[in-house]
Protein backbone atom coordinates (compact mmCIF):
# COMPACT_ATOMS: atom_id res chain seq x y z
CA UNK A 1 0.00 0.00 0.00
CA UNK A 2 1.36 3.38 -0.89
CA UNK A 3 1.34 6.15 1.66
CA UNK A 4 2.24 8.92 -0.74
CA UNK A 5 -0.86 10.92 0.01
CA UNK A 6 0.20 11.17 3.63
CA UNK A 7 3.18 13.33 2.77
CA UNK A 8 2.75 17.08 2.67
CA UNK A 9 2.33 17.97 -1.00
CA UNK A 10 4.56 21.04 -0.82
CA UNK A 11 7.54 21.55 1.40
CA UNK A 12 6.03 24.72 2.89
CA UNK A 13 6.15 23.93 6.54
CA UNK A 14 7.52 21.31 8.85
CA UNK A 15 5.54 19.26 11.26
CA UNK A 16 6.04 20.52 14.83
CA UNK A 17 8.66 18.51 16.71
CA UNK A 18 7.12 15.61 18.57
CA UNK A 19 6.89 16.36 22.26
CA UNK A 20 6.88 13.69 24.91
CA UNK A 21 3.75 14.29 26.96
CA UNK A 22 2.40 12.68 30.07
CA UNK A 23 -0.45 10.24 29.49
CA UNK A 24 -3.82 11.92 29.04
CA UNK A 25 -6.46 11.03 31.58
CA UNK A 26 -10.08 10.74 30.51
CA UNK A 27 -10.90 13.17 33.32
CA UNK A 28 -8.71 15.83 31.74
CA UNK A 29 -10.40 15.43 28.36
CA UNK A 30 -13.81 15.77 30.01
CA UNK A 31 -12.61 18.86 31.87
CA UNK A 32 -11.40 20.60 28.71
CA UNK A 33 -14.67 19.84 26.90
CA UNK A 34 -16.73 21.10 29.84
CA UNK A 35 -14.71 24.32 30.07
CA UNK A 36 -15.20 24.78 26.34
CA UNK A 37 -18.93 24.40 26.92
CA UNK A 38 -18.97 27.01 29.68
CA UNK A 39 -16.90 29.39 27.55
CA UNK A 40 -19.30 28.82 24.66
CA UNK A 41 -22.20 29.80 26.91
CA UNK A 42 -20.60 33.12 27.84
CA UNK A 43 -23.08 35.89 27.21
CA UNK A 44 -21.43 38.74 25.32
CA UNK A 45 -22.82 41.84 23.65
CA UNK A 46 -24.85 41.11 20.52
CA UNK A 47 -22.28 41.54 17.78
CA UNK A 48 -19.50 39.73 19.64
CA UNK A 49 -21.94 36.91 20.38
CA UNK A 50 -22.41 36.36 16.68
CA UNK A 51 -18.75 36.11 15.75
CA UNK A 52 -17.66 34.14 18.82
CA UNK A 53 -15.83 30.97 17.75
CA UNK A 54 -17.20 27.58 18.72
CA UNK A 55 -14.64 26.33 21.25
CA UNK A 56 -16.26 22.91 21.63
CA UNK A 57 -15.71 22.20 17.95
CA UNK A 58 -12.11 23.34 18.22
CA UNK A 59 -11.41 21.24 21.34
CA UNK A 60 -12.98 18.18 19.73
CA UNK A 61 -10.73 18.61 16.69
CA UNK A 62 -7.69 18.90 18.95
CA UNK A 63 -8.39 15.66 20.81
CA UNK A 64 -9.25 13.75 17.66
CA UNK A 65 -6.13 14.91 15.84
CA UNK A 66 -3.58 14.56 18.61
CA UNK A 67 -5.08 11.73 20.67
CA UNK A 68 -7.29 9.78 18.29
CA UNK A 69 -9.55 7.12 19.79
CA UNK A 70 -9.85 9.01 23.09
CA UNK A 71 -12.97 10.99 22.16
CA UNK A 72 -15.73 9.14 20.37
CA UNK A 73 -18.81 10.19 18.49
CA UNK A 74 -21.14 9.81 21.47
CA UNK A 75 -19.75 12.59 23.72
CA UNK A 76 -19.43 14.89 20.70
CA UNK A 77 -23.02 14.20 19.76
CA UNK A 78 -24.31 14.89 23.27
CA UNK A 79 -22.30 18.10 23.46
CA UNK A 80 -24.02 19.06 20.21
CA UNK A 81 -27.43 18.45 21.76
CA UNK A 82 -26.43 20.55 24.77
CA UNK A 83 -25.42 23.41 22.49
CA UNK A 84 -28.74 23.10 20.67
CA UNK A 85 -30.67 23.50 23.91
CA UNK A 86 -28.50 26.34 25.16
CA UNK A 87 -28.63 28.20 21.84
CA UNK A 88 -32.29 27.54 21.22
CA UNK A 89 -31.52 26.27 17.74
CA UNK A 90 -33.18 23.31 16.08
CA UNK A 91 -32.73 20.12 18.09
CA UNK A 92 -29.96 18.09 16.42
CA UNK A 93 -28.46 20.93 14.41
CA UNK A 94 -25.20 21.17 16.34
CA UNK A 95 -25.24 17.41 16.92
CA UNK A 96 -25.23 16.78 13.17
CA UNK A 97 -22.56 19.41 12.61
CA UNK A 98 -20.32 17.85 15.28
CA UNK A 99 -20.84 14.37 13.80
CA UNK A 100 -19.62 15.68 10.44
CA UNK A 101 -16.74 17.46 12.14
CA UNK A 102 -15.69 14.28 13.98
CA UNK A 103 -15.83 12.27 10.77
CA UNK A 104 -13.64 14.74 8.90
CA UNK A 105 -11.20 15.15 11.78
CA UNK A 106 -10.75 11.38 12.22
CA UNK A 107 -10.39 10.95 8.47
CA UNK A 108 -7.76 13.69 8.22
CA UNK A 109 -5.93 13.37 11.51
CA UNK A 110 -2.84 11.58 10.13
CA UNK A 111 -2.61 14.12 7.34
CA UNK A 112 -3.00 17.13 9.64
CA UNK A 113 -0.23 15.84 11.92
CA UNK A 114 2.26 16.00 9.06
CA UNK A 115 1.82 19.73 8.56
CA UNK A 116 3.24 22.75 10.30
CA UNK A 117 1.10 25.01 12.43
CA UNK A 118 0.15 27.37 9.61
CA UNK A 119 -1.09 24.62 7.31
CA UNK A 120 -2.90 23.01 10.21
CA UNK A 121 -4.86 26.24 10.62
CA UNK A 122 -6.06 25.94 7.03
CA UNK A 123 -7.23 22.39 7.62
CA UNK A 124 -9.04 23.36 10.83
CA UNK A 125 -10.70 26.30 9.08
CA UNK A 126 -11.93 23.98 6.34
CA UNK A 127 -13.38 21.50 8.84
CA UNK A 128 -15.08 24.25 10.88
CA UNK A 129 -16.48 25.89 7.75
CA UNK A 130 -17.93 22.63 6.51
CA UNK A 131 -19.66 21.99 9.83
CA UNK A 132 -21.09 25.53 9.68
CA UNK A 133 -22.33 24.90 6.16
CA UNK A 134 -24.16 21.85 7.48
CA UNK A 135 -25.90 24.03 10.10
CA UNK A 136 -26.71 26.67 7.48
CA UNK A 137 -28.17 24.04 5.16
CA UNK A 138 -30.31 22.56 7.92
CA UNK A 139 -31.72 25.95 8.89
CA UNK A 140 -32.33 27.10 5.32
CA UNK A 141 -34.21 23.84 4.70
CA UNK A 142 -36.39 24.56 7.72
CA UNK A 143 -37.28 27.99 6.33
CA UNK A 144 -34.82 30.46 7.87
CA UNK A 145 -33.16 33.29 5.98
CA UNK A 146 -29.43 33.49 5.31
CA UNK A 147 -28.13 35.45 8.32
CA UNK A 148 -25.46 37.37 6.40
CA UNK A 149 -21.75 36.84 5.75
CA UNK A 150 -20.98 37.46 9.42
CA UNK A 151 -22.18 33.91 9.99
CA UNK A 152 -18.90 32.40 8.73
CA UNK A 153 -16.55 34.53 10.81
CA UNK A 154 -16.58 32.13 13.82
CA UNK A 155 -14.91 29.47 11.65
CA UNK A 156 -12.01 31.70 10.73
CA UNK A 157 -11.64 33.08 14.26
CA UNK A 158 -11.74 29.53 15.60
CA UNK A 159 -9.03 28.42 13.19
CA UNK A 160 -6.93 31.44 14.20
CA UNK A 161 -7.24 30.30 17.82
CA UNK A 162 -5.87 26.83 16.95
CA UNK A 163 -2.20 27.48 17.94
CA UNK A 164 -3.32 29.08 21.21
CA UNK A 165 -5.60 26.16 22.04
CA UNK A 166 -2.83 23.71 21.12
CA UNK A 167 -0.47 25.32 23.63
CA UNK A 168 -3.02 25.85 26.40
CA UNK A 169 -4.32 22.27 26.36
CA UNK A 170 -0.77 20.95 26.50
CA UNK A 171 0.31 22.91 29.57
CA UNK A 172 -0.80 20.28 32.12
CA UNK A 173 0.43 17.47 29.88
CA UNK A 174 4.08 18.56 29.73
CA UNK A 175 6.41 16.64 32.03
CA UNK A 176 6.83 18.37 35.38
CA UNK A 177 10.50 17.68 35.81
CA UNK A 178 13.26 18.63 33.46
CA UNK A 179 14.43 15.37 31.84
CA UNK A 180 17.95 16.74 31.46
CA UNK A 181 18.40 17.47 35.17
CA UNK A 182 20.55 14.90 36.88
Amino acid sequence: MSFNWLRPPLSGGRAPPQEILRPVKARYIALTLLSALVLNLFALPDLLNQIKPDLIALTLIYWVVYHPRRVGFLPAWFLGLTMDVADGSLFGQHALAYAVLMYLAILLHRRILMFGMRQQIVHVAAILLLSQFIMLGVRMLSGADFPGPLFFIPSFLGAALWPLLFNVIRIPLRPRTDPDAV
Binding site: V38, G72, F73, D87, G88, L90, G92, A99, M102, P147
Partner: protein, 298 residues
Protein backbone atom coordinates in the same frame (compact mmCIF):
# COMPACT_ATOMS: atom_id res chain seq x y z
CA UNK B 1 -8.90 8.30 1.27
CA UNK B 2 -9.43 4.69 2.25
CA UNK B 3 -8.69 3.96 5.87
CA UNK B 4 -8.87 0.31 6.84
CA UNK B 5 -7.33 -1.07 10.03
CA UNK B 6 -5.75 -4.51 10.04
CA UNK B 7 -8.48 -7.05 10.67
CA UNK B 8 -6.81 -8.66 13.72
CA UNK B 9 -7.41 -5.67 15.99
CA UNK B 10 -10.87 -5.28 17.43
CA UNK B 11 -11.87 -1.66 16.91
CA UNK B 12 -15.63 -1.63 16.90
CA UNK B 13 -17.72 -0.47 13.97
CA UNK B 14 -15.94 1.39 11.18
CA UNK B 15 -15.70 5.16 11.01
CA UNK B 16 -18.22 5.43 8.21
CA UNK B 17 -20.70 3.25 10.09
CA UNK B 18 -20.46 5.38 13.21
CA UNK B 19 -20.74 8.59 11.22
CA UNK B 20 -23.79 7.36 9.34
CA UNK B 21 -25.45 6.19 12.55
CA UNK B 22 -25.04 9.52 14.34
CA UNK B 23 -25.99 11.55 11.25
CA UNK B 24 -29.22 9.62 10.82
CA UNK B 25 -29.96 10.00 14.53
CA UNK B 26 -29.45 13.78 14.28
CA UNK B 27 -31.56 13.96 11.16
CA UNK B 28 -34.39 12.14 12.96
CA UNK B 29 -34.16 14.61 15.84
CA UNK B 30 -34.14 17.56 13.42
CA UNK B 31 -37.24 16.41 11.62
CA UNK B 32 -39.14 15.57 14.79
CA UNK B 33 -38.23 18.96 16.27
CA UNK B 34 -38.94 21.07 13.21
CA UNK B 35 -42.11 19.34 12.07
CA UNK B 36 -43.65 17.40 14.92
CA UNK B 37 -42.60 19.26 18.09
CA UNK B 38 -42.26 16.05 20.13
CA UNK B 39 -39.12 16.68 22.09
CA UNK B 40 -40.06 19.41 24.56
CA UNK B 41 -39.57 17.15 27.59
CA UNK B 42 -36.14 15.96 26.40
CA UNK B 43 -35.15 19.57 25.74
CA UNK B 44 -36.28 20.61 29.22
CA UNK B 45 -34.26 17.78 30.77
CA UNK B 46 -31.07 18.93 29.07
CA UNK B 47 -31.90 22.55 29.87
CA UNK B 48 -32.03 21.74 33.58
CA UNK B 49 -28.54 20.24 33.39
CA UNK B 50 -27.16 23.17 31.41
CA UNK B 51 -28.82 25.84 33.59
CA UNK B 52 -25.96 26.25 36.13
CA UNK B 53 -23.46 26.60 33.30
CA UNK B 54 -25.67 29.14 31.57
CA UNK B 55 -25.87 31.19 34.76
CA UNK B 56 -22.12 30.89 35.14
CA UNK B 57 -21.69 32.09 31.58
CA UNK B 58 -23.97 35.09 32.02
CA UNK B 59 -22.29 36.07 35.29
CA UNK B 60 -19.43 38.21 33.88
CA UNK B 61 -21.91 40.34 31.96
CA UNK B 62 -24.11 40.81 35.01
CA UNK B 63 -21.09 41.55 37.15
CA UNK B 64 -19.75 44.21 34.80
CA UNK B 65 -23.20 45.79 34.72
CA UNK B 66 -23.40 45.81 38.51
CA UNK B 67 -19.92 47.32 38.76
CA UNK B 68 -20.90 49.90 36.17
CA UNK B 69 -24.00 50.73 38.21
CA UNK B 70 -21.89 51.14 41.32
CA UNK B 71 -19.68 53.80 39.79
CA UNK B 72 -22.38 56.25 38.67
CA UNK B 73 -21.70 59.85 39.41
CA UNK B 74 -23.70 61.73 42.00
CA UNK B 75 -24.93 64.30 39.48
CA UNK B 76 -26.21 61.67 37.11
CA UNK B 77 -28.06 59.98 39.92
CA UNK B 78 -29.54 63.30 40.99
CA UNK B 79 -30.65 64.07 37.47
CA UNK B 80 -32.22 60.65 37.05
CA UNK B 81 -33.94 61.04 40.40
CA UNK B 82 -35.41 64.39 39.36
CA UNK B 83 -36.59 62.95 36.09
CA UNK B 84 -38.25 60.04 37.83
CA UNK B 85 -39.93 62.33 40.34
CA UNK B 86 -41.37 64.49 37.56
CA UNK B 87 -42.51 61.42 35.73
CA UNK B 88 -44.15 60.03 38.83
CA UNK B 89 -46.00 63.28 39.36
CA UNK B 90 -47.28 63.22 35.83
CA UNK B 91 -48.15 59.54 36.13
CA UNK B 92 -50.02 59.96 39.39
CA UNK B 93 -52.10 62.73 37.84
CA UNK B 94 -53.04 60.54 34.91
CA UNK B 95 -53.53 57.59 37.25
CA UNK B 96 -56.16 59.51 39.17
CA UNK B 97 -57.95 60.36 35.96
CA UNK B 98 -57.62 56.72 34.97
CA UNK B 99 -59.25 55.54 38.18
CA UNK B 100 -62.26 57.73 37.73
CA UNK B 101 -62.45 56.70 34.07
CA UNK B 102 -62.17 53.06 35.05
CA UNK B 103 -65.10 53.26 37.43
CA UNK B 104 -67.06 55.19 34.87
CA UNK B 105 -66.18 52.61 32.24
CA UNK B 106 -67.23 49.75 34.51
CA UNK B 107 -70.48 51.52 35.22
CA UNK B 108 -71.19 52.11 31.55
CA UNK B 109 -70.29 48.57 30.65
CA UNK B 110 -72.67 47.32 33.31
CA UNK B 111 -75.37 49.54 31.91
CA UNK B 112 -74.73 48.17 28.43
CA UNK B 113 -74.48 44.60 29.81
CA UNK B 114 -71.05 44.13 28.20
CA UNK B 115 -68.40 41.68 29.29
CA UNK B 116 -65.95 43.14 31.75
CA UNK B 117 -62.32 43.45 30.82
CA UNK B 118 -60.27 41.06 32.85
CA UNK B 119 -57.29 42.32 34.77
CA UNK B 120 -54.25 40.21 33.95
CA UNK B 121 -51.46 38.83 36.09
CA UNK B 122 -47.94 39.76 35.22
CA UNK B 123 -44.51 38.55 36.26
CA UNK B 124 -41.54 40.94 36.23
CA UNK B 125 -38.48 39.42 34.60
CA UNK B 126 -34.99 40.35 33.55
CA UNK B 127 -33.43 39.71 30.15
CA UNK B 128 -30.33 37.57 30.68
CA UNK B 129 -28.87 37.46 27.20
CA UNK B 130 -29.67 37.33 23.52
CA UNK B 131 -29.50 33.97 21.82
CA UNK B 132 -26.38 32.97 19.91
CA UNK B 133 -28.52 31.41 17.20
CA UNK B 134 -28.10 33.85 14.28
CA UNK B 135 -31.18 32.60 12.42
CA UNK B 136 -33.80 33.83 14.89
CA UNK B 137 -34.35 36.85 17.11
CA UNK B 138 -34.83 35.61 20.63
CA UNK B 139 -33.79 36.54 24.15
CA UNK B 140 -33.70 34.54 27.36
CA UNK B 141 -35.37 35.87 30.50
CA UNK B 142 -34.76 34.70 34.06
CA UNK B 143 -38.29 33.47 34.86
CA UNK B 144 -39.59 30.01 33.97
CA UNK B 145 -42.11 27.30 34.83
CA UNK B 146 -41.16 27.51 38.50
CA UNK B 147 -42.24 31.16 38.58
CA UNK B 148 -45.49 30.46 36.73
CA UNK B 149 -44.53 31.53 33.21
CA UNK B 150 -46.28 29.59 30.43
CA UNK B 151 -45.53 29.37 26.73
CA UNK B 152 -47.58 31.76 24.62
CA UNK B 153 -47.65 34.65 27.09
CA UNK B 154 -46.87 38.17 25.96
CA UNK B 155 -43.75 40.07 27.05
CA UNK B 156 -43.84 43.87 27.32
CA UNK B 157 -41.55 46.63 28.53
CA UNK B 158 -42.42 50.17 29.61
CA UNK B 159 -42.87 51.33 26.00
CA UNK B 160 -44.78 48.48 24.43
CA UNK B 161 -44.74 44.89 23.26
CA UNK B 162 -41.37 43.14 23.15
CA UNK B 163 -42.34 39.61 22.15
CA UNK B 164 -43.92 36.36 23.15
CA UNK B 165 -42.75 33.46 25.32
CA UNK B 166 -42.17 30.54 22.96
CA UNK B 167 -40.38 27.97 25.13
CA UNK B 168 -40.37 27.58 28.87
CA UNK B 169 -37.73 25.82 30.93
CA UNK B 170 -37.76 25.26 34.68
CA UNK B 171 -35.97 28.52 35.54
CA UNK B 172 -35.62 30.30 32.22
CA UNK B 173 -37.82 31.04 29.29
CA UNK B 174 -37.20 31.92 25.71
CA UNK B 175 -38.88 35.01 24.28
CA UNK B 176 -39.27 35.40 20.52
CA UNK B 177 -39.05 39.11 19.71
CA UNK B 178 -41.70 40.73 17.54
CA UNK B 179 -38.97 41.40 14.96
CA UNK B 180 -38.43 37.65 14.42
CA UNK B 181 -39.35 36.38 10.99
CA UNK B 182 -42.07 34.04 12.22
CA UNK B 183 -43.60 36.32 14.84
CA UNK B 184 -46.96 37.95 14.11
CA UNK B 185 -48.82 40.49 16.28
CA UNK B 186 -52.46 41.46 15.71
CA UNK B 187 -52.68 45.27 15.76
CA UNK B 188 -55.03 48.16 15.33
CA UNK B 189 -54.04 51.60 14.05
CA UNK B 190 -54.94 54.23 16.67
CA UNK B 191 -55.81 57.03 14.22
CA UNK B 192 -57.93 55.12 11.73
CA UNK B 193 -58.98 52.08 13.75
CA UNK B 194 -57.87 49.70 11.00
CA UNK B 195 -57.03 46.18 12.15
CA UNK B 196 -54.13 44.17 10.77
CA UNK B 197 -51.23 41.91 11.61
CA UNK B 198 -47.57 42.92 11.79
CA UNK B 199 -44.81 40.46 10.92
CA UNK B 200 -41.15 40.70 11.80
CA UNK B 201 -38.71 41.09 8.93
CA UNK B 202 -35.96 39.16 10.65
CA UNK B 203 -32.71 40.75 9.60
CA UNK B 204 -32.99 44.50 10.22
CA UNK B 205 -35.14 44.85 13.32
CA UNK B 206 -38.19 46.36 11.65
CA UNK B 207 -41.76 45.13 11.23
CA UNK B 208 -43.99 44.85 8.21
CA UNK B 209 -47.73 45.43 8.14
CA UNK B 210 -48.86 42.91 5.57
CA UNK B 211 -52.07 42.41 3.62
CA UNK B 212 -53.22 46.03 3.79
CA UNK B 213 -54.90 47.22 0.57
CA UNK B 214 -53.11 49.89 -1.44
CA UNK B 215 -55.68 52.51 -0.45
CA UNK B 216 -55.66 51.61 3.28
CA UNK B 217 -55.80 54.59 5.63
CA UNK B 218 -52.30 54.32 7.04
CA UNK B 219 -49.82 57.21 7.21
CA UNK B 220 -46.26 57.70 8.31
CA UNK B 221 -46.13 58.16 12.07
CA UNK B 222 -49.32 56.20 12.81
CA UNK B 223 -49.16 54.38 16.12
CA UNK B 224 -50.12 50.70 15.98
CA UNK B 225 -51.39 49.14 19.22
CA UNK B 226 -52.37 45.57 20.02
CA UNK B 227 -55.97 44.87 19.09
CA UNK B 228 -56.40 42.22 21.77
CA UNK B 229 -58.63 40.02 19.64
CA UNK B 230 -56.18 37.13 19.81
CA UNK B 231 -56.44 36.77 23.58
CA UNK B 232 -52.65 36.69 23.91
CA UNK B 233 -51.70 40.34 23.95
CA UNK B 234 -53.71 42.70 26.16
CA UNK B 235 -55.48 45.32 24.06
CA UNK B 236 -54.05 48.80 23.65
CA UNK B 237 -50.31 48.23 24.08
CA UNK B 238 -48.10 50.13 21.63
CA UNK B 239 -46.43 47.79 19.12
CA UNK B 240 -44.89 49.95 16.43
CA UNK B 241 -44.89 53.27 14.61
CA UNK B 242 -45.34 53.33 10.84
CA UNK B 243 -42.11 54.58 9.30
CA UNK B 244 -42.61 54.09 5.58
CA UNK B 245 -45.61 53.48 3.33
CA UNK B 246 -45.06 52.43 -0.27
CA UNK B 247 -48.16 52.34 -2.44
CA UNK B 248 -47.77 50.76 -5.82
CA UNK B 249 -50.93 50.14 -7.82
CA UNK B 250 -49.24 47.20 -9.54
CA UNK B 251 -49.47 45.16 -6.35
CA UNK B 252 -52.54 44.12 -4.42
CA UNK B 253 -51.14 45.26 -1.07
CA UNK B 254 -49.30 48.31 0.17
CA UNK B 255 -45.77 47.88 1.51
CA UNK B 256 -45.83 49.26 5.05
CA UNK B 257 -42.71 49.27 7.20
CA UNK B 258 -42.86 50.02 10.93
CA UNK B 259 -40.32 50.44 13.71
CA UNK B 260 -41.04 48.75 17.04
CA UNK B 261 -42.18 51.04 19.86
CA UNK B 262 -40.57 49.05 22.66
CA UNK B 263 -36.83 48.71 23.13
CA UNK B 264 -36.93 45.30 21.47
CA UNK B 265 -33.15 44.96 21.39
CA UNK B 266 -32.30 47.06 24.43
CA UNK B 267 -34.90 46.18 27.09
CA UNK B 268 -33.47 44.63 30.23
CA UNK B 269 -36.47 44.80 32.58
CA UNK B 270 -39.64 43.32 31.11
CA UNK B 271 -43.06 42.10 32.23
CA UNK B 272 -44.45 38.72 31.27
CA UNK B 273 -48.21 39.16 30.89
CA UNK B 274 -50.52 36.19 31.43
CA UNK B 275 -52.72 35.18 28.51
CA UNK B 276 -56.46 35.60 28.75
CA UNK B 277 -57.81 32.11 29.30
CA UNK B 278 -61.46 33.02 29.51
CA UNK B 279 -62.07 33.62 25.85
CA UNK B 280 -65.61 32.95 24.66
CA UNK B 281 -66.13 29.80 22.62
CA UNK B 282 -65.74 30.09 18.88
CA UNK B 283 -69.06 29.89 17.12
CA UNK B 284 -67.94 26.95 14.99
CA UNK B 285 -67.28 24.03 17.34
CA UNK B 286 -64.93 22.18 14.96
CA UNK B 287 -62.57 25.12 14.75
CA UNK B 288 -59.71 25.39 17.27
CA UNK B 289 -60.48 27.62 20.27
CA UNK B 290 -58.05 30.46 19.62
CA UNK B 291 -56.07 31.20 16.48
CA UNK B 292 -52.38 30.95 17.26
CA UNK B 293 -50.57 34.03 15.96
CA UNK B 294 -47.28 32.16 15.60
CA UNK B 295 -48.69 29.75 13.06
CA UNK B 296 -49.57 32.56 10.69
CA UNK B 297 -47.72 32.11 7.43
CA UNK B 298 -47.21 34.31 4.46
Amino acid sequence: MEYSPPPFFKRGPSLLTRFTFFSILSACLLVSDARLNYLMLFRQGIATVVYPMQRLGSMPGELSRRVGEFFVTQSRLQRENDQLRHQELRNSASLQVLKSLESENRHLRELLAMRERIARDFIPAEVLYGHRDPFTRRVVVDRGIQHGVRAGWAVVDENGVVGQVTRVFPWLSEVTLITDKEQAVPIQAVRSGLRGVTFGIGYDGTLELRFMPVNADIQNGDLLVTSGIDGTYPAGLPVAVVSNVERNAAYAFARITCTPAAGVNSATQVLVVAANEKLPENPATEAPAAPKPRKARR
